[in-house]
Symmetry: C2
Subunit: 258 residues, 2 copies
């Protein structure tokens, strides 16, 4: 079976389902149906895919591939309500094990796009890494081929690796963004425009394109500039942030003594 | 006095001195002299500027502007060895007060380029914010004009604002980079290529170009996904990182309840 000839039903209409389904449609796949518990969400997406919208899980039509893409805590309920099938069943979660699908089909797996999606923000799929896992060799071959139609950047990761990738993403993306929020609050309190810091943030990321992050490290902690470190901790008036400054400075110093 | 007609001596040959002096030269300024305690460092930079190199601070020739750009903990010693002058004296530090120059001249100030410089990495100065502070109105006018020749992005910040800007930069840049190091170590331990995370890091930064960072926040903490948060803390085998994960998750949740 060629991957491009299969019919697909998408279970979910959230951010990931939204972007993946549209990408599949653009790449020539036929999407039969979009399911969401909220029919208007399903309809909004289905319309763009010339697909049927349903809000009853048992009404999802027979398809060759079911793409489950819902919130992590919604998977188990939806999967348990889904009839056993011979089709390929795939979920898109970074943190759930592949085997949550094991009672649904013999051919199941994971297609985890490692990117942060928002519905109203265009994504260049050519730059989205796709992490594949599969229940058997045949399904693996199929899913790797399927993934390559979506993006040229594909990896085969097992459930444990995928969970650690997700954890690494929390540090590198969610927590970095929290640091940007802290920076913004510090600047706002002193009437300084947040825009002033954007070139520095961009340069920080540009550096790790060419250097490893450990080589790219700058700042008072790695220089062990105790004067500035102490001055900064004194300047901070929020206890959480004082502790955070000290902790991250310690972590940087340990990173550079190994 | 037109800014372009002045003669400049550069005190220091580190990263900031290096990039600023070369930018000034390219923009048509005449650099008379580069001082460094290490003559080979001074010579390396001076050659590119058709300038004289000296390693004795009392040998710096008379100039219209002295640009002091050394390590924070070296300023006081160098300034105290420098003869009193009628020229404009400027330092480039984010964290030192303007007044460390007050005994040197009546016309003094700060020109702080808010960017992370490395000698071997090209910098697009058009995107480097320059923060100016000056001891009097006339010097302010001069330094703002001088700064605009280097970069179109100029701000007037007082010593306190500049210190908080520097602090914000530590959070947004140095500490973000430390999070990239953590992510890299997590991936390395599971044999996953660090490159897989670069598109996510880039997208995280791209988002704060258009959204405020508080609006751009994603991840388990802001969703209050306690299941994932606890699973992640369990997966981390390093005490510092466990504490960091918990602390940053708490900070994110507080950022979103204000």
């Amino acid at each position: 079976m060629l991957t491009s000839e299969i019919s697909i039903s998408v279970i979910g209409a959230g951010n990931v389902a939204w972007h993946l389904a549209k990408r599949l449609f653009v790449r020539g796949y036929s999407i039969r149906c979009v399911f969401s518990r909220n029919l208007s969400h399903a309809t909004l997406l289905a319309k763009q895919l010339k697909a049927e919208a349903v809000d009853n899980i048992t009404s999802v039509p027979v398809s060759d591939l079911y793409l489950f893409s819902v919130k992590d805590d919604a998977y188990r309920e939806i999967i348990s309500a889904f009839p056993k099938t011979k089709a390929i069943c795939v979920h898109t979660s970074g943190s759930l094990e592949m085997d949550i699908l094991e009672n649904l089909s013999d051919c199941y797996g994971v297609l985890y796009p490692f990117q942060s999606f928002s519905k109203d923000k265009f994504i260049t799929f050519e730059q989205v890494p796709l992490c594949v896992e599969a229940s058997n060799h045949q399904t693996e071959q199929f899913l790797m081929e399927f993934a390559r139609v979506i993006s040229p950047i594909t990896y085969y990761l097992n459930t444990e690796q995928r969970a650690y990738l997700h954890l690494a993403g929390v540090f590198a993306s969610n927590f970095s963004n929290a640091l940007y929020v802290i920076a913004q609050q510090i600047l706002q309190q002193r009437n300084i425009d947040f825009k002033i810091i954007l070139p520095l943030i961009k340069e920080t990321v540009e550096k790790v394109n060419n250097l490893s992050p450990i080589e790219a490290q700058t700042g008072p902690a790695v220089r062990n500039d105790v004067g500035i470190i102490n001055k900064h901790i004194e300047m901070i008036n929020n206890t959480d942030l004082k502790v955070l400054y000290q902790l991250l400075s310690n972590i940087i110093q340990k990173q550079h003594t190994i």
